[in-house]
């Protein structure tokens, strides 16, 4: 470059620079405000939850001694892992319960994913003109994900009795809400050109969703559903606490009756299961994301 770039005259340059500086300042103050809110929020929540570090220090010992009890063989002798046969005496029924737990999570995720897809599409402003319908779909999804699955399970156990059915229903409804929200983000960010292409060719609304929307969101939809399955396996493990089936029922019984070794064994089994499921779904999700 043999010559310097031409500069704007100072009279034009100054207001532009000033405007830029103004908007940068606004960003800085906004950042400071957010930081202040975060600090204030954490102090307030600590006060609300009565976080008392002295109390925490006094009782942390009790926590560790519980773990000590958990891993000491009750029939006398050493640690539980010196006698795995004795420790895992109930392996067979526990594995059956674990299988039930995973199946509950599977069924809940499946129904939740199907419903969540429908709600996401019905609530999308770029696909549905009918405002009341959109509003209804969004609020329904909101309600379903705001109420924790444990609360749904409690209600359904009262209505339908003990067993895995209320558990599956609770997981399905909560998943429907959560997936409805996540998928609606996907749907609202799709490329509209294929949608117009299908509509212009005379496609009905359902056909348009099938051929212009579904292909675009499918990898994201499957990925979110797998993530939800992962979460639901963990969720299903504690649904038994309120009598909604699965391994949680054995766990809460062992805790209540002070079967220390059983508690330890069940915890180990649950953690192993969750790790295996997380690893497998993680692998699948990575493959899906690569396909995007």
């Amino acid at each position: 470059m043999s010559q310097a770039l031409p500069l704007l005259p100072a009279a034009q340059l100054a207001p532009l620079l000033a405007a830029y500086a103004r908007s940068r300042r606004a960003v800085f103050w906004r950042g400071l405000l957010v930081a202040a809110c975060l600090v204030a929020g954490s102090l307030a929540s600590g006060w609300m939850a009565e976080v008392d570090l002295g109390k925490f220090g006094k009782h942390i010992g009790g926590f560790f001694s519980y773990f000590d009890r958990l891993t000491r063989l009750e029939g006398g002798g050493g640690r539980v892992w010196t006698d795995p046969g004795e420790w895992f005496w109930g392996l067979r029924p526990w594995l059956v319960q674990l299988g039930d737990t995973v199946l509950m999570a599977y069924a809940g995720t499946l129904f939740g994913a199907l419903g969540g897809f429908c709600l996401a599409v019905l609530g999308a402003a770029n696909l549905v003109q009918n405002q009341p319908l959109r509003w209804g779909a969004k609020r329904l999804a909101e309600f379903c994900r705001t109420v924790p699955d444990l609360v749904f399970a409690l209600l359904f156990v009262i209505a339908f009795g003990l067993g895995p059915l209320p558990g599956v229903m609770a997981l399905a409804i909560h998943s429907l809400g959560a997936l409805g929200k996540q998928n609606s983000e996907l749907v609202e960010n799709i490329d509209m050109k294929p949608v117009e292409g299908a509509i212009a060719a005379g496609a009905s609304w359902v056909a348009m969703v099938r051929f212009a929307v579904l292909p675009q969101i499918l990898p994201g939809f499957l990925s979110y559903s797998l993530l939800r399955f992962e979460i639901n396996v963990r969720g299903a493990a504690v649904l038994g606490f309120v009598g909604a089936g699965g391994i949680g029922q054995d766990l809460i019984e062992a805790v209540r009756k002070f079967y220390y070794n059983d508690v330890a064994a069940l915890l180990v089994l649950i953690i192993l299961t969750v790790v295996v499921i997380d690893t497998l779904t993680g692998l699948l999700r990575r493959r899906l994301l690569e396909a995007r």
């Binding site: 050109k193 299908a198 509509i199 212009a200 060719a201 005379g202 496609a203 292909p215 675009q216």
Partner: protein, 265 residues
């Protein structure tokens, strides 16, 4: 025959199409020209009813298009195929399925949704693809094809609708010159062989002159030219396009202003 009467479309305070009246006989190959923002796309989108007019009427064979709703609207869209500048295919779906989207109106919905397309419709779609030299690419994902190939898939999709009119909105504006010729030739073939009316927005006056039998010029949404291509003299083009005229007439671009050229050098 397509009859447009007093057609107007407003976007807020702006008027995209302004009291436009036009008659187009069946079988014509009409080019719509005008600088960008003149209202060409809005006109075509209103005919397909992707957008609704603010005022005025569109009649096809005497039937009022502007009041159609529900199933009748879907049926009209099937008769009135649309081709877009950006092709508007589903990039993840394979080529043949994209073409079959043009058959949706001829196939029971449940079969289409399950992708259990009747054998006859598959044959129609594949034949249309092969007509444009794309038969072997039927199983490819549409998004992996080149622009020229995608536009030919879009043409096949339009053709298998068995439409009475094809609306093409700058179908070659995203293509290189060779592919542009190929796609325009394909449109002309469709027009001649099947007698399908074609209404085509074009940016290049050269293509418009060579392929169209009649040109319609828009400026600020109003009709300012309607004649055979030979009547489009350079002076008329200049008035239609103003500063863009050189660009659309495929002349070399104007030289950079002196100060800027010196700065870049």
């Amino acid at each position: 025959m397509l009859v447009i009467q007093g057609l107007t479309r407003r976007f807020g305070a702006a008027t995209a199409v302004d009291n436009l009246s036009l008659e187009i006989p069946r079988g014509a190959f009409v080019g719509v020209i005008g600088r960008s923002g003149a209202g060409k796309s809005t006109l075509l989108r209103m005919i397909n009813r992707l957008q609704d007019p603010s005022e005025g009427q569109i009649l096809w064979q005497g039937q009022d298009i502007t009041t159609l709703r529900g199933a009748e609207l879907l049926a009209w869209r099937a008769r009135c195929a649309m081709v877009f500048q950006q092709f508007n295919l589903s990039p993840r779906l394979d080529v043949l399925t994209n073409v079959l989207v043009g058959r949706l109106h001829h196939v029971p919905t449940w079969r289409a949704l399950l992708r259990m397309w009747p054998q006859a419709d598959r044959a129609i779609a594949l034949s249309a693809l092969e007509q444009f030299g794309m038969g072997t690419l039927a199983a490819q994902a549409a998004g992996q094809l080149s622009g020229g190939q995608q536009q030919r898939v879009a043409l096949a999709r339009a053709l298998v609708q068995e439409p009475e009119i094809i609306l093409a909105d700058e179908p070659v504006a995203s293509l290189d010159p060779r592919n542009a010729e190929m796609v325009m030739q394909a449109l002309a073939d469709i027009n001649q062989r099947y007698g399908i009316t074609v209404l085509c927005n074009l940016h290049s006056l050269d293509l418009a002159r060579r392929y169209c039998t009649r040109l319609v010029g828009l400026a600020h949404g109003r009709l300012v030219f309607d004649d055979v291509p030979a009547a489009l003299t350079d002076a008329v083009a200049q008035s239609l396009y103003g500063i863009e005229a050189r660009d659309v007439m495929d002349s070399p671009p104007p030289a950079l202003p002196d100060g800027f050229a010196a700065a870049v050098a």
